[in-house]
Symmetry: C2
Subunit: 415 residues, 2 copies
Amino acid sequence: MAPGAISLPPSANGTDGTNGTKEIINGTNLPTKTQNGLPIPAGLDASKLIITKSPSPRAVPDAASAFATEDTICTDHMITCAWDRTRGWSAPELKPFGPFSLMPTASVLHYATECFEGLKVYRGFDGRLRLFRPDCNTRRFLRSAARVSLPAFDPDELEKLLVALVAFDGPKWLPRDEPGAFLYLRPALIGTQSTLGVCTPTKALLFVTLSYMKKMDSPGGLKLCTSPEDTVRAWAGGFGHAKLGANYGPSLVAAQAARDKGYDQILWLYGPEGYCTEAGASNFMVVWTDKESGKTQIVTAPLDDSIILDGITRRSLLQLARDRLGDEVEVVEKKYTMNEVIEAQREGRLRETFAVGTAYFVTPVSVVHHRGIDIHIDIGDGYGGKYALLFTQWLKDIMYGGEDHPWGLVVPEEA
Amino acid sequence: MAPGAISLPPSANGTDGTNGTKEIINGTNLPTKTQNGLPIPAGLDASKLIITKSPSPRAVPDAASAFATEDTICTDHMITCAWDRTRGWSAPELKPFGPFSLMPTASVLHYATECFEGLKVYRGFDGRLRLFRPDCNTRRFLRSAARVSLPAFDPDELEKLLVALVAFDGPKWLPRDEPGAFLYLRPALIGTQSTLGVCTPTKALLFVTLSYMKKMDSPGGLKLCTSPEDTVRAWAGGFGHAKLGANYGPSLVAAQAARDKGYDQILWLYGPEGYCTEAGASNFMVVWTDKESGKTQIVTAPLDDSIILDGITRRSLLQLARDRLGDEVEVVEKKYTMNEVIEAQREGRLRETFAVGTAYFVTPVSVVHHRGIDIHIDIGDGYGGKYALLFTQWLKDIMYGGEDHPWGLVVPEEA
């Protein structure tokens, strides 16, 4: 299914303009509209949010203890919302962060009926909290859910829930006196139906956590190793474009093998031609002087064969390049091979390469190892070349309030 | 990684012949051997099984209520065993069936760090309980775990745990006076580490449930629909050969589309040539008269490109054909295309097609729909042609004690 080809099935989209009255009974919203005498499952509805404050809020860790153990530290609260095929979405809950109870037969534990999103919350230098283009995340999340047969939802309602959680826990966990800090929002959707048997889940759980995440765009540059010839991350007709759990677990063996050889991440190649696709779980870009035209080009893999993720940092960076760099740089989304990258480097035309994504932000790549050869790329003082630095600055300005921009969504906080 | 290329890392294989003394403290086994002063993680050890009998055993459902709801009914007990990278495998527990507690940040819920197995327990016509080649399942499970970066274990120890659960719950849930009945054993292994971040899990949980499963080898024959041209289940260099959750969730969209068109399952084709690979989540076989040699052949997809599952029913059926059918039938594991199947049918050379696997057993296929054409295949009285019936009978004899055979492992029960 093409990434854009999603329509909300009526059974999961009761929050359209025709929505009737709703009531909350025992924490669940029962469908109140009927169609041919049958109840219509309720849509996701942020206005029904039920808030339960944690009775035992935790201390905010200092920088040293935030990553002292391997367990991710989450804030005091999370959001959960259950779905079943008959009743639709229950009333969302904002409640104390804590474990789930899942039956051993739950769909997600056997059949990987799961997808997720990831975005950061930024404490701006102007003191305000911001999300970066959350509408892009919620819409991609909806496409991912459809690709793995999980229920649809109104992405605008999910965005309201993200904002609600950030507004609730943000002031304590991202204090105003620490501008430049960020936390990580993780919406996830899992199939919870307790049936052993390969079938579309009739029950699901949406949840959102807010947690610490290490800063990964550190100086020094990433060292990449191209994927082994016998290992393919994603393929045309598969699901590499969707943020499914199924894309990640099976990639760990190759990633570990790369780390064992001293590299940070895999540069995933595709097909006998060796097309460059993704760097680890991030998009990958090169800046080179085009052989034919002599123009400076920013080149990255295209979205049309659904192999790579439609990254929001990727999309934003390309948009900024088109809007702000004018004729200086040509933005090219096309298939390009590792051999073309090597040729550009040998001919002195390769100017920069970087990984872009929520985790790595814009991180320059200093080395790509391919079939026995190390290709070295200049990364200036460690933070990348001219364009990596430019994109980093432009994006940070939007994220941290240096520039007032529609991509930076301010989250209201109580005074 | 090739299916056979697994070696047990020392960190997860403490149950070799050199194993020293062990002790049980608070339900976990602490490593007692040291190497260079560091403890060696403990291996999976069935002899440490801790048994906790259910205080509230449930009634065995009758045939009508066993499948009255969509939730899978499990027996009174399950087996669980936790692993972490430092301590290795804890003492396995046989305990009341019930929900797990998992953190919202658990690896399995985000990154599909999960794999499973499935095998049946048969109540024989001689009154005895049997497993069918469980050593094949436990070894394949180990290969699947390695493919998704989950910990290794001694497969013989897992087999002992399967036998322990069946011996414990079998007498009540598969009563002696119901020969021919079966239950379904589901070992599963999930990554439980509570870290948001794509990394190899340092904690995992192995669990085994025993449950009801519908009889799926019903008369009438399966109707298959070939996979859409833009959807590929598994690919060379991927993980189609491993029993990972990641193979199943992403297949649900196409499977539902096939059902919406009136077919039971997808016949998954591969590549522009349209090679036949799997039927739903089962292996697929055709019996035809070879165009060149005029010989009767049983043809099925090969294992060497790791696209299809190394099915135990598949493997057993091919072995029986080789051992017992002699020159009558040639067993051929090779790539073959949908067009070759259509050609054989048009030329009157197509004799049988069937899906084989634990769920479908040996189920004849009556129709394959391909790009607008329905190909009809004779299935005799509904249970298949000569060979489907022969394999069914041979396998049933081994499973239900009609024939004393090394593939049928008798589970001891208290008198």
